[in-house]
Symmetry: C2
Subunit: 538 residues, 2 copies
């Protein structure tokens, strides 16, 4: 293999070492540039001598300034570049973009589960949600019991999933930020894969009344809210001061309280929940896969454990697939506020309207303030693994991260815990933390998850399929049973981004149809969901 380095943009003055074993001092790359030192795979080599203060350019953008002379052929990393300021939100003005003529893609379909509300599931799952952590021991017990004793009787149901979160009691439920975890739990229960047959297990004395987790009677699409925008969610219809003295569990309802006086001890509670589960399983078992348009896909894009290849391979390939889904009339979202913050000047011009652009900037501003209150800033995002993988700072990471959004216009911005309202490309504002982002993307309504990784993570979710894309072939080979799709060949020109984007699009349709299983579903490897709760505990 040659001494391969990759330049992303003609204006770049650094390139990425692509050789899997890195390159040694003395190696010759590009137009005769001689490496001054050993450089690991994924790390940057300087293509010209940089003086102190010179901009380091990757993706055609400034990712930092040399903090000393960097000779041509030297290793450029976080030790010799300093980070630029984040783009000033007030400086980014909006111009209505010309709407490009996009040919729409037709005739792409998958076999999904149609729901009464118009959404489509990619799995058929019995969901058990909870209004408080105290009940987790019992719901875990029940989840196992249903899987063993009931699921074999309902062959059309794929799985049973209990959502044991940390919220519900010991929290300041009337604090302004409490709306985020509450609507997250509520909206996860409405995920298309549950088919509207969610069960809610409550204790009885908790602050989060289980009734708050039921769907609104009003049309869901009218529910607005947002952390930034004024809350007009109907969540407030239930007072947290209700006395639940006379609560009772209605046999036909979807809510069961463990403190219900009709339960004499643990095994009666279990019997009560099992009875309720049977009622829901009977309904879920009637669901059958039907031919659905690719327009029914709702795909959440996320990356985690990124390296310098993520922005070259996995993210552009996923971005191309994202464009295909949008062209087919479907929905895609990307997230991770701290990973788009430094590329915000590239995203604002892609917003469909000024209102959307403003909401995007508002979410950035909210997060700037949130980090500031906690005495942190966006630079807290990059991990040791990112740096080990060649990403010097959050600017470089962000520029590579947003590539997975493709090139479609951004039609809407969704606050943490909200559901999507429009088809097309959405920005769903979440922290970058993998499990928190995944949790909020579930609440937003995704029925398929694409997760791009360079360093490797066993991350998986039990509610929707997670397609794991590797940014480099070295990882895909080593983690042969944990990676679903290798975007590595793009790095060496063996395949084009376009070819691999189409391959990924087709794979997504096969997985959505239940024809193929993702690695984490084969192995049964699932992370816990983790709520975003910026509010205080009590």
């Amino acid at each position: 293999m040659q001494n391969i380095v990759i330049k992303t943009n003609p204006n770049d003055n650094v390139a990425i070492v692509a050789s899997p074993t890195g390159l040694k001092r003395g190696a010759i790359v590009l137009n005769g540039i001689v490496l001054e030192e050993d450089i690991p795979m994924g790390h940057k080599v300087s293509l010209q001598t940089l003086n102190e203060g010179d901009a380091v350019i990757r993706y055609g953008q400034n990712i930092g300034f040399a903090n000393k002379i960097i000779e041509k052929g030297s290793w450029v990393n976080e030790s010799n570049i300093s980070m630029p300021q984040a783009p000033n939100l007030a400086d980014i003005s909006y111009v209505q973009p010309k709407v490009p003529q996009v040919e729409s893609l037709k005739d792409f379909t998958f076999q999904g589960f149609k729901n009464a509300d118009g959404s489509v599931g990619t799995k058929n799952v019995l969901g058990i949600t909870t209004s408080v952590q105290c009940v987790a021991g019992i719901t875990s017990f029940i989840e196992n019991k249903i899987r063993k004793e009931l699921l074999p009787l309902y062959p059309n149901v794929d799985d049973v999933v209990a959502f044991n979160h940390s919220y519900g009691c010991g929290i300041a439920i009337d604090a302004p930020a409490a709306i985020i975890p509450i609507r997250t739990i509520k909206h996860i229960a409405q995920n298309p894969n549950f088919g509207g047959e969610i069960m809610i297990i409550g204790l009885g004395c908790e602050k989060l009344r289980p009734e708050r987790l039921l769907p609104d009677t009003r049309n869901q699409l009218l529910v607005t809210g947002g952390l930034v925008s004024k809350q007009s969610d109907s969540d407030n219809q239930f007072s947290s001061n209700q006395l639940p003295i006379n609560q009772s569990t209605n046999n036909q309802s979807s809510i069961l309280y463990l403190q219900d006086e009709r339960f004499e001890g643990f095994y009666e509670m279990v019997d009560g929940i099992m009875e309720m589960a049977e009622r829901h399983l009977q309904k879920l078992n009637q669901r059958k896969r039907e031919t659905c348009s690719a327009a029914d896909l709702v795909v959440g894009m996320q990356c985690g454990g990124s390296d310098a290849f993520s922005g070259l391979t996995g993210n552009p390939v996923s971005g191309f697939a994202a464009d295909l889904i949008v062209k087919a009339g479907g929905t895609v979202f990307f997230s991770e506020v701290t990973e788009v913050r430094d590329a915000i000047h590239l995203l604002v011009p892609r917003c469909e309207t000024e209102e959307v652009a403003q909401k995007l900037k508002d979410e950035m501003a909210w997060y700037d303030n949130y980090l500031n209150q906690g005495k942190a800033d966006r630079s807290a995002n990059t991990t040791p693994g990112n740096k080990g993988g060649g990403l010097s700072n959050i600017v470089e990471k962000a520029l590579g991260s947003v590539v997975k959004s493709g090139s479609s216009p951004i039609v809407d911005v969704i606050s943490p815990g909200e559901k999507i309202r429009k088809k097309g490309l959405n920005f769903v504002a979440t922290p970058a933390s993998d499990f928190v982002c995944g949790t909020l993307q579930l609440a937003a309504g995704m029925n398929m998850h694409v997760f791009i990784t360079g360093r490797g993570t066993p991350y998986g979710l039990n509610m929707v399929p997670v397609v794991k894309v590797s940014s480099n072939t070295k990882l895909a080979n080593r983690w042969h049973d944990l990676i679903d799709f290798d975007a590595g060949p793009v790095a060496f020109g063996q395949k084009t981004i376009e070819e691999m984007g189409w391959e990924l699009f087709h794979l997504i349709l096969e997985i959505a149809s239940g024809e193929k299983k993702v690695a984490t579903d084969k192995l049964g490897l699932y992370n816990d969901l983790v709520l975003f709760n910026p509010g205080p505990l009590t």
Copy 2:
């Protein structure tokens, strides 16, 4: 049964309805007081007519002011009383208390597992901790595999427990508040029940380096820190910017990285962890129960799902048992900042030194500020269940809550996530959230948990036994297989607090010895641990 109401203190102008079915309008109580309305069990009846603005007195303390005329015999609840201000911390001065001559209790023992560091376990558990949530799928898989395949070969080991928390990545690890979750994870790994044989599973690219979770080489008792006091913890010895490129998993170490290049896929990771587990199980299997002094008990007291009886029965009985443990030379802690805040004027005088009193006030002030930043206050503590159970507000709840600390001097105050440093009665500053408090009490080093409840909760922990005490017999009867000890008989004078306190003390020794199992251990009902992380996500 008579129309029983209970007055806690001679100065009280309200009493608690003790009759299990409540009392009806027209019922006659005490000195001929006629009930003006139906009053449920656990709720307050006015013993005299109160004018608007009059203080409502329970436990001899002001729990609020009548917000309208309350006729003698009326129901007193949150709708007709308003809450007093929290005691002003600056107004509470400290006077060194006379040290009472306390006869020490000798000759009480239990059969425990002695550890090299001087601590004593009440169970023999293989602990698996993690440096990041991404690995949770694999550690859950491994936990089951070890339980099925390995535990039967090591009969002296009681269980295997994986601690899958939400921390480690996507967090601002250099924010000031990050020290709390980090030291919590680290100190839980040092819980006496793990016998120093903890395993740490990391991914490899996370911000929380697994090495930070190893015990300090310095004497643990010297580790100080605290949220309030300046941090002098050695946690800072590891930079979060280390490049882990060349990390390797030492075969003999307690740390394993899933990204270690020697693992080709999932099943090799599993084999690697199973090998490591066998090494630790061989050592744990050599542990045998030995006769230990009651002075080796470290008992965490907590209440959850409280009702108005909690302060009359469960908490005073537990407080009496707490005094016995302290007299025997053991350690007890109580917690839950928002549930002691309104009784702080009763606790400051009990502090052994002025320094301890100041630290207690500092922790209250920190929490006041924390709630204030989140636009909440201490009144956010009380739950619908508390109110349904007769607790009108946080003042009444706090006065009943602190009773479980008994009457011993407070020898030390421990910040969230810290380990205890002294034997005797400690205040361990935690949120009142049941699962968060329990998690922080595990980090502080408890080997036994006493949990008092009036409304009922299936709460249980898999690391230490949880003795569940009911405040009323009605609950104990209904939840016959979930409650370990019924303190209800105190309410009707069938037994004294002293008698039942001794019974609970003996029960604790039997459970600590492994002679009796608690209800949640019999049923295998366990809550997840939940970290206290006041810092931001990224």
